[in-house]
């Protein structure tokens, strides 16, 4: 008996057209770019695909430039490329800060912005090896029947952990998706379902082509991230807030629900009202190494700090 379940096809297309061709000729495929999450999830048995289509060599996905009223960032742009980009540093400092807060410098040399926006939701009861999950009894996110984090719940509440998403959403960013030659542009926040299992509104054959950051003057932004060490760790809570020149405010949060929490408000709104709205939207459970109570406390503390920094 020969076991061939390990065999994987790996493609490195150089154009979007080539990607479309590959998606038509393969069934069980997945896109990969930096692969820093996929390779770990694969090793843990949480990612199974026999065909990987690598998007990192496609020039269209690597563009980073001003285009009309937007700054365009290609979906396969590496995080270190974002950290090092002077334009981003000057015009969107929280995007640089968010990118720099992700993982380690080594991972940032590999991981892409698209990968960070599409990063799989996490939970300490899910991001475990096959041995662990079998021993624990599989949770909802890996095909089981109950949530281990809540001890029996029927809804997966895994955490949304992208750090760039809150920063970009607070700057009112849009994304461009390509599906079969067809491009769609919509606000980044609409990419997310707020569900623990299928957490993204994106079809399997759809490519995140680029992020569009509107060029707005006189904005003021703040970014905060909770983690125990100053490196490596996924977020336990990330808050980004931006005040625009017309005093519109967008607050976006990850680590506190299965999707980003987004609140749009205006300067002048009271902190208590803002916090109350956000608190209502948060679903913080014990699925992180910081306990629920502490993360709830920090939600309020970090929010207050962010809003203070943007002078609402």
């Amino acid at each position: 008996m020969r076991d061939i379940s390990n065999s994987v096809s790996y493609y490195l297309p150089e154009s979007i057209q080539e990607v479309i061709g590959l998606t038509k000729h393969n069934e069980d495929y997945s896109f990969i770019a930096g692969g820093t999450d996929i390779m770990v999830n694969k090793q843990q048995g949480n990612f199974k695909s026999n065909c990987l289509i690598d998007l990192s060599n496609i020039p269209e996905l690597l563009e980073m430039e001003v285009e009309g009223d937007y700054y365009k960032i290609g979906g396969a742009t590496k995080l270190s490329g974002i950290v090092d980009d002077e334009y981003i540093g000057n015009s969107f400092p929280i995007v640089k800060e968010a990118a720099k807060s992700i993982a380690s410098p080594l991972i940032r040399n590999q991981a892409s912005i698209g990968g960070n926006l599409l990063v799989e939701n996490r939970c300490i009861f899910y991001n475990q090896s096959e041995l662990w999950r079998e021993a624990a009894g599989y949770c909802l996110k890996c095909g089981g029947e109950t949530c281990l984090a809540t001890g029996g719940g029927k809804t997966c509440l895994s955490k949304f952990v992208s750090d760039l998403a809150p920063a970009l959403i607070s700057l009112n960013a849009s994304i461009v998706l390509i599906n079969n030659d067809c491009e769609r542009t919509f606000p980044l926040e609409e990419l997310y379902t707020n569900e623990g299992i299928n957490s993204k509104n994106i079809d399997k054959d759809t490519i995140l082509k680029c992020i569009l950051l509107p060029l707005r003057k006189n904005t003021k932004s703040s970014f905060k991230k909770l983690r125990q060490r100053k490196t490596l760790e996924f977020t336990s809570l990330t808050i980004a807030a931006t005040r625009f020149d017309n005093n519109d405010i967008i607050i976006a949060i990850s680590g506190a629900a299965p999707g980003p929490i987004v609140l749009k408000t205006k300067k002048g709104e009271s902190f208590e009202n803002i916090y109350s709205e956000i608190n209502k939207k948060s679903i913080i459970i014990n699925n992180d190494f910081f306990d629920r109570k502490y993360r709830k406390q920090m939600l309020k503390t970090y929010l207050a700090d962010c809003l203070k920094e943007i002078e609402i």
């Binding site: 020969r2 390990n6 065999s7 690598d54 080594l106 021993a135 910081f290 306990d291 503390t301």
Partner: protein, 922 residues
Amino acid sequence: MTEINLNVNGKNHILFANEDITLAKALREHLHLTGTKIGCQQGSCGACTVLLDNKAVLSCILPAIKCQGKKIVTIEGLSNKNEISRIQKKFVEKGAIQCGFCTPGMVLASHALLKSNPNPDKEEIKEALSGNLCRCTGYKKIIDAVSSCANDSEHKDNVLISKEKGRYKTVGKPAPYIEAIKKVQGRAEYADDIFTGNALHCRFLRSTRAHAVIESIDVAQAMKIDGVRKIVTGKEIRNKFGVLPISEDETALAIEKTRYIGEIVAAVAADTAEIAQQAIKKIKVGYKALDEYFDPKDSIADLGDKQKIHEHCKFNNNIHKKSELRFGDQASAYDEAYYKCENDFDFQGINHGFTEPHAATAYWDENGLTIISATQVPHYLHKSLAKVLELPLNRIRVVKPYLGGGFGGKSDPFAHEIIIAYIAKELGTAVRTVLTREEVFLTNHGRHPTNINFKLGMGKDLKLKLIDTDIIIDGGSYGSFGVVTSYYNGVLLQGPYKIDNFGFRTRRVYTNKPQCGAMRGHGAVNPRYAMETSIDILAHQAKADPCEIRLNNYLEENTLTVGEYRITSNGSVEALRTVMKQSGWKNKYGKLAYGHGIGVASGFFISGSALPIHWNEYPQSVVHLKVDLDGRVVVSSGASDIGQGSDTMLAIIVAEVLGLSSQNIFVQSADTLLTPIDLGSYSSRVTFMAGNAAKTAAENLKMQIADSISNNFGVDAAELNFEYDKVFSNDKSVDLSWAEAIEVATRKVGALTVKGQYNSPKLGGDFKGAGAGLSPSYSFGSVIAEVKVDIRTGFVEIIDIWGAHDCGLALNPLAVEGQLEGSWHMGLGQTLSEEMRYHKGLLLNSNFIDYKIPSSLDTPDIESNIIESCDPEGPFGAKECGEGALHPVIPAVGNAIFDAIGKRMFSLPISPDKVLKAMHED
């Protein structure tokens, strides 16, 4: 399978491999470039760092196929045969290399930084290296190495030199490890770097049940897979083993039942690791659940009808060992104490976190069994293999290659070693294995989770009157070093202070979790926290300076402790006074603003155990020296260099006695066939014991050579000097080069072979338990820590650490500093962020993202001070420096937090949530 074209270190390679093969695996297994290490397989330790088009990347999570058309540089490409690069040179010079397993990745990350930013400041260096974990150095010397490359001007040499430098030629001078160049080039071979021809790969089926009867194991489907050569289950290897002969309670594989999630139930040896892993998935195990014990309190209570974890427990509970010693009258002393406190403390389990996973290769040939394994104690593995496999010792050879960190976690004989040895013997072939990081965590043997009730009393005269403590340690599923740990939790509280009323009880219990054992500072770390915190509490009661209280209570030199430990040299006072002065203690203590604090603690530790684990009269250490016409003195020792620099220490001692330079010394160590038995690298015994044996051996050799020359030239042997690679008489009538001297000395007799040995003197009292913690010498030290607490979030920032440690005499100050800095760094991890966290017996954080070893960015400045009390029995006065320094750093931080916010931290790790909670309590 596909063709992958890689350009590595300027050469093109074509390899055929699975399309998703990682670059790390391609480099190591196809191109045999083993300088690229695999530490975690998850991109979270940085050991696998390589350069891809000049950017530092993680090759363990990088598909090799993505790297086609790009330039890959591995550590092997950074230097040529004759010359190492500047950054490599600085790593060597600055002592930035200990075990060396993180070194290739660290060097490449540093190289990439310097290429893009030739003059980085300290923060930029810390940031650039924040994805590369080092468990040995505390990063200080690594950062120094990079800084010294950054600036063109000559960097200030910060390394301390022994005060005794004038007295000796080699001893007391900072020396890079003798193998440092090999390590910095990525040429040092660790266990998994040695590829024995046609070796089978062994993988393990591990239990998914914490406590369950094994009803059936069906391997039929697994055996059908092509390439599977053998499947082993527990019934085949029934003999028990354990590091302590008094507590052999483990089998290589679970037999009747499993006792923790992760225990080995079956093993598969196959042509490749992938095939073995596939076969593992096809094995079906039937379990029947038993009552599980995760909380030590459940294991202490009467179990009623429930099944015990081990039948050999004396009573109807899961208590493995109860240790108790009492001196004086603790109860009356507590009643009479003017200042007193009683508190409960709790501590989580800590893992060694060495960067090199366990790995081994075993093979069988005409000489019997040979096993090459990452072990701290070849001798114990040798004995265990003989017992379990029922082979005479002369059919087994254990070889330790370079070893990527141990910290106690590689001192036991391990199941995986026994299993591959068994398969090698059965099949007559070679078998290799390397554990995943998760398996390393499950194998554990780390620091015990501990609950301590601690009473301390002090008189109005500020003299400490009593200690009375009740301790429960959670041993997990098997014994390991636990009997010793249970004693060390208590007995090592009888220093560094004089206390007449002293009592402890420790109960070590079995639970259904991975077993605990020895880890740096063995057994004494958690009670030290309780003790030093309690002193701080009494200092506050008495409104006295906690440093002054310590100075008022230290044991003196040349005295006995309450339990009859013989204290000889003692640098306590000098150590504390040094850090008080350096930290500005008097101007800071009690005077800093709210949220900002400073704290102090002291500690002490053994320099090796005076009593051996195996009761026999063999010396603790034996060192052989051989010199032949080539003039090179071969130092042969069974001691394991695990990154702490013991090979270099032996070379320094022999060089000093014989007046030789390093070219005339060669160290051969840790091979049970070729080197004399040494009891191994644990309990901080090697410098004292193997060092003394080496010194005696060298003195014997010197005497032999001197006698020959004396006879040949008619000069008095006492007139002869051994210095500068020469032997000469005072009047220079004899003036021989070393080679000439050896030529004379070997005439008619051939190569000279001598030995030296170390036997501990008879020590201690004659009561039961008197032997625990006995050591020929003890180390002492203090740490002062300054912290800032963010009162809104509870985060503790450590501003600085000042540490001083009495190591007797620093044979190699560069290595001593490295040990001290590494100890303090490791202690800070346990203080603030490290813990093994469980959910129903399942370890939640068996990886380096969630098991939080401090990174370069999380590690504060550390100011190191070597205190030299010149021990009368240590080699040239030296004693331990590898473990004792760890003890005081944890309570120093806890006490600093109290100084900052007025709250006591009774639970480790001191995570921000606990600090915030404490602040919100009255």
